[in-house]
Symmetry: C2
Subunit: 350 residues, 2 copies
Amino acid sequence: MRSEDIAKLAGVSRSTVSRVLNNYPDIPQRTREKVLRIIEQYHYEPNTSARALAGKGTDTIGLFIVSMAERHTGNRIYQNHYFAPIVDTVIDTANAAGFYVLVHTVYTQDDYLKVKQAFQQRRIDGGIIVGTQKDSERIAEICRLDKPFVMIDFDLEALAEHSLNRDTLSVINSDDYEGACEAMRYLIGLGHRRIAHIRGRMNTLSGRQRFQAYETMMNEYGLPYEDSDILDGNFLKNAAYEEVARLLNQARDQIPSALFAANDDMALAAIQSIRDNGLRVPDDISVIGFDDIPISSQFIPSLSTVRLPIYEMSKEAVNQIVNMCTQGTTSFNSSTFPTELIIRESCKRL
Amino acid sequence: MRSEDIAKLAGVSRSTVSRVLNNYPDIPQRTREKVLRIIEQYHYEPNTSARALAGKGTDTIGLFIVSMAERHTGNRIYQNHYFAPIVDTVIDTANAAGFYVLVHTVYTQDDYLKVKQAFQQRRIDGGIIVGTQKDSERIAEICRLDKPFVMIDFDLEALAEHSLNRDTLSVINSDDYEGACEAMRYLIGLGHRRIAHIRGRMNTLSGRQRFQAYETMMNEYGLPYEDSDILDGNFLKNAAYEEVARLLNQARDQIPSALFAANDDMALAAIQSIRDNGLRVPDDISVIGFDDIPISSQFIPSLSTVRLPIYEMSKEAVNQIVNMCTQGTTSFNSSTFPTELIIRESCKRL
DNA sequence: CTCCCTTCTGAACGCGCGTTAGTCCCATTG
DNA sequence: CAATGGGACTAACGCGCGTTCAGAAGGGAG
């Protein structure tokens, strides 16, 4: 079933059918209805490829997930507390807007080619890229394609470095720095003076921002901290568990009364480690995390943390892409979404 | 950059370029290399739309997730323990095979149209559909399109009903029945004679199979059970918690010594409920679940359960689709994958 | 009745590629 | 030497649609 068949059945020319489908204003109501009836009746669907070839878009956006995990290690991405809700929201929002979503994982440097290809092959009209460890060099290449593109969590400085403030590019960040400051102020407000921090990976923007907030706040409030109070984590549980165990392995009065972990996974591991070393949370040590992953609210004790506005950010990303694609609006945008301090049971007044 | 540009640069005709790209045998090595060099040099990528229009496929498969949740309730699909690893594996496997994946959620009856459309609009070469509550009527419509199609977890009887044993259709199931039997045999082998069951939704295949296995095993081993031993769950925590509380609200010696829950979520809720009623797991009551969701291994006590071969099934689904798409092989297939009994701490010898 | 303007329609071209039928050239054979 | 054959290529058509431009049909004014 092609548009020509519809045209014949409706007794008009093919171009009239096309005009009806594309909402041209100069089609009289009678003709329009007649054509639409035939289309309805025969369940006609325009061929996307032909449409795209003739200049229309594909009504498809790409969602690229940059991860340092390895392909085929099984089930890593969507069980990741950070990626899962993004994928979820993006697909949901896009589908509701009548767009299809092409999801692709990016593990290796070569996989970045796939992103470019998706654009060059005209598979997608626009793209969203997420992931903590993006290669700004490769990203720069992709941006040079000059296609509607939104990045979630990306260091603006890296952009400037490649002078890529193009009109088709948008960046959506969460305000991790301010969120981390809030967490620190909360701990300090509870009377804690000796506060430790488990860092995330320092090659990620969020890792750096959260750590930076820790230092700034400690300094601002004139609180002393030593190198040993800064634990070198990597966002993962194992290392955090070990590092915390090492922290606890000193004179009782040398142990900090509070711990700010750069993410919930490490915070939970820290609590385990603290327990296994015979101390209690929050009675002996207060722990606060970052991310508000689902399990944090169910853990015992439930974890105080900072919620990321993932849902809002993802939705905004799709909206921007869809606008760019449909209206052809090209506007550089850099929005920062506020986090939210979630107070639960894992912190206690000193 | 079009193939014609490449042709000019290489000093050949456009069709020669096309033949090189499509591995035609009658191109001498010299010409082939020359063309490939130019392609490489100018980063030429064939336009997918034009390609699809000319008869080639799109190298894209659709992944449709049928869920009864509601759109825009935020973050349901990929945080679902069942869907997440499927999405994960499908995307990973397909990407590794050079295929793109279009992910789409199906919430309402109308959304099924989107599935049909994706095919009719030639967006995808083949599709995978997953979800527990498929509408076999709609599925039948989709199958009638006669496109490569794989369903994960689908009742074969429903297929027969619509007489749809077409060559392009495959069904991949997990052997829930046998898995549930194994779980029951394990409990019985531990000496339990009074065993309760919390059912899943009876309008799902897995819900029915797991329940059926319970009844069959109880009968086979001549164990008595009463209506009150069969709790009406719906795969969700809340109802399970309540139902179990009701079960425990009777004379101590009337309470079953073991409980087989139709999924892990309900099993975990049951353990909570049992605890809240002053009994212990596994000392007073043994509990076994089904699914082996990630949290089950970390729960205290860790949950004995039945692992679903989700990874294997998803991978097989992609392989079948890819084969059908590339080789044009059309073979009806119905494979059943075995489950695996995972023994942990939540069950104890009576 | 003619002219012009508005409203509507269709023929034709182009999008970029796959493929078929056919051409050209050179080596081989009778 | 002519005829044959095959290897290496190309011209041309078709895929299904969007869009432009010219022109038809209708309607009102002069």
